[in-house]
Symmetry: C2
Subunit: 117 residues, 2 copies
């Protein structure tokens, strides 16, 4: 495995842990169709996160199965029928829980990075 | 899967992405033996990170294989022989790279969480 591939892999590990949070946050401003979710994540993160379709669609289906997002068929801006996602009330609670979890996680990493002894 | 197990699983996803960084940072203050690495990570993170041995030892071996840490047999404080780890010069560069990557990653998540429109 090349160093680049290792770095990409690590980036993917980070993404895997935070993907649900990122999707819930973006869908919270919905209704939004699937492809636009990954575009928004990439755009807002200034290209740091590039969500492959092979990760995006399984994640959307998982979140829908858990009742955190719900889908409705609508006409997209390109005139095609697409599934538009919105957060359910249960999803809003989940989003709040995931944000709290992220705060604890990133706070714990920060504690370790600040250690100097 | 119970909600608790899901939460634990998610915590583990987060841990997987950041474990190398946490270990390199703690070993940077070494030499330190393997078990003490997980104790330090748990202690400094105020019990947020609990690194199972099944994750710790494979990670230590992986970092050693990559030439980022090196091991030496010494007598631990309990009087037993144990492998003590220290960071190599290559490992110090890797630690700097991982800290920079963490900063970019957590910055990208923060950008998305700050979005209000």
């Amino acid at each position: 495995m090349t160093p680049l591939a290792e770095k990409e892999n690590e980036k993917y590990d980070f993404l895997r842990g935070s993907l649900d949070l990122l999707i819930l946050k973006v869908v919270n401003h919905g209704p939004i169709h699937g492809y636009a979710v990954s575009q928004r994540i990439q755009q807002i993160s200034r290209d740091f996160f590039q969500v492959p379709q092979g990760s995006l669609y399984p994640a959307l289906h998982r979140l829908e199965d858990r009742g955190w997002i719900e889908a409705e068929w609508k006409i997209s801006e390109t005139g095609r029928e697409a599934k538009f996602y919105a957060l359910t009330r249960k999803g809003q609670k989940q989003l709040e829980a995931e944000i709290a979890h992220w705060d604890r996680f990133s706070g714990a990493v920060a504690l370790i990075l600040r250690t100097t002894e």
